[in-house]
């Protein structure tokens, strides 16, 4: 069995002490939407506000110094966590903002002859910014299709990524299917034609060891709140030479070098991308979150989720009328599992499960083109994390069987 002591881990997360819907135990299977927070992350935010609050990167007083140090220490933590350098870490308010930042900043670098490549399994946050960039510039948006098994179809890779391709922006792990996409061939082809590779790592950074140097990618975005960190903080990692070349997206305080009445020049990256007083408490909280994850061990987390995901897949496959949407084995797949269940609509199933204290996500999961392609209006999604155990999976399975009885009544 898993190396993780889940019972001990759950004690670090205060939310697991509360109950749901008239005293039911909380079975939280919606970490793909947002993760729960350990006390150390909550404390880090409280401590910042209680002891060190001042505007970072400004002011000549002790508090400003401490706030600056706290933010920069968190930057160092993020850099180490990803295998990058501190000055390659840009703090944003979300992964969505990180991706929008790139899409806006590339506006002046993209022409009508260029191509931008995504996949059919993108979250709206890694699709719409590129649609809009294509519309602004006249560039062509193209994409890798998804097979019925929920894998990327790379058979026509040379026709999708062409000599004109400038940007390839893909999800590392699908937030609907759980599919972990193979990057080597995509990165090799993209670099062959001189395109940059942007990785939407919202569903992978919290769940597996990630090293940007080993992946050989050019940019990476993830959100703090899916990685047991606070809401309101996201990260953009970019190769330092690319960040240096890229024009800024938001303009204002602290991103400048000099300003006159008619013009301005920019501070070096990452500051050039961080206009305004940053979300300091949230950045500090994110540092605490990544420290917590490192203490548990990203490889341990990954192995735990594979083991638990494998158990969940086996249990789900045994339920008559239940159809897993996505890969049905744990090969290149994480612990996010979507499914449909006979003629019980996901919204109704989710409501029934909620009455048992079980939190799942239902709907199109902000990936409408994907669910449309797969021919399902909506799915129910259970997403596992390192604080889940077999009891959670068993509760879900008996909940699903209970729903069949409940909605099947005449």
């Amino acid at each position: 069995m898993s190396q993780l002591d889940v019972a001990a881990i759950r004690k670090d997360f205060p939310i697991f002490t509360r109950t749901i819907r008239d005293g039911k135990k909380l079975v939280y299977l919606d970490s793909g939407a947002t993760s729960q927070k350990p006390q150390s992350v909550i404390d880090a935010e409280v401590d910042f506000y209680s002891r060190s609050n001042a505007a970072a990167h400004r002011g000549a007083h002790q508090l400003a110094e401490e706030a600056t140090e706290a933010v920069e220490a968190a930057r160092e933590i993020v850099a180490n966590f990803l295998g990058g350098e501190s000055d390659e870490i840009v703090f944003t308010k979300s992964a969505t903002e990180s991706l929008n930042l790139l899409a806006y900043s590339y506006t002046s670098l993209i022409t009508a002859e260029d191509r931008i490549v995504v996949t059919e399994m993108e979250h709206h946050a890694n699709l719409i910014p590129w649609q809009q960039l294509a519309q602004r510039t006249g560039a062509t948006l193209s994409w890798f299709e998804v097979t019925p098994e929920g894998r990327l179809d790379l058979s026509n890779i040379d026709n999708v990524i062409t000599e004109n391709t400038k940007i390839v922006s893909i999800t590392h792990q699908s937030n609907v299917l759980g599919t972990i996409n193979p990057l080597d061939a995509i990165v090799a082809r993209a670099h062959e034609v001189g395109a940059v590779v942007i990785l939407d790592a919202c569903q992978s950074v919290p769940h597996m060891p990630i090293n940007v140097t080993e992946l050989n990618i050019d940019y990476l975005a993830f959100s703090g709140h899916k990685a047991i960190g606070p809401t309101g903080v996201g990260v953009l990692w970019g190769r330092s030479e690319l960040l240096e070349m890229l024009p800024p997206f938001l303009f204002g305080g602290s991103m400048i070098e000099t300003v006159t009445m008619t013009d301005a020049t920019w501070a070096p990256a990452p500051r050039k991308f961080e206009a305004g007083v940053p979300n300091m408490a949230q950045i500090v909280g994110l540092g605490a979150a990544l420290n917590y994850l490192s203490k548990i061990g990203m490889n341990n987390i990954h192995l735990h989720e594979i083991e638990l995901g494998s158990y969940l897949l086996a249990q789900l496959s045994a339920i008559e009328g239940l159809q897993v949407v996505g890969p049905v084995d744990m090969q290149n797949r994480g612990g996010t599992i979507s499914f449909t269940f006979g003629d019980i609509h996901p919204h109704d199933l989710g409501q029934y499960l909620d009455a048992q204290g079980i939190a799942v996500r239902t709907g199109h999961h902000c990936a409408w083109p994907l669910t449309r392609k797969l021919g399902v209006a909506a799915t129910t999604r259970a997403s596992l994390y390192f604080y889940n155990d077999k009891d959670d999976v068993d509760a879900l399975v008996s909940g699903i069987i209970g729903a069949k009885k409940y909605f099947g009544r005449e």
């Binding site: 819907r21 008239d22 609509h345 996901p346 919204h347 109704d348 409501q351 029934y352 009455a355 239902t362 709907g363 199109h364 409408w368 669910t371 209006a377 909506a378 409940y406 909605f407 009544r409």
Partner: protein, 145 residues
Amino acid sequence: MELDALYQEVILDHYKHPQHKGLVPTYDAQVHHVNPSCGDETTLNISLDNGSIKSISWDGVGCSISQASVSIMSDLMIGKSVKDAEVILNSFVDLMQSKGLKSGDPQILEDGVSMAGVSKFPARIKCALLGWMAYKDAVLSASSK
């Protein structure tokens, strides 16, 4: 339990045997409404005759609440004057916004009172209102012709 207050027998009955489902080919107005939070969709055709609702037909995909609600709505509105239908619509919207404090007037809403429990579940109110908002849009469009 709360869940039973939501899933009344009447609702499940309408869900399993939806009324006026299947679009008729002739209509004065057609509208298409979606619930972007869950992907539920309804297409609704309406025909008016001399200030009255001659026919409503619809098709769509969605949860039991959204499907039952549009079924109940169609049943209620067909044959009513547009004016009376407005009273019914307002009464239903008021019930949905009541946070579980109202039970609805059965004289006006008939089967629609079975939806009262929905108002306790904020995430589901949009489901219940999907077909009714489609109706509101359709009748406005048909009346302005």
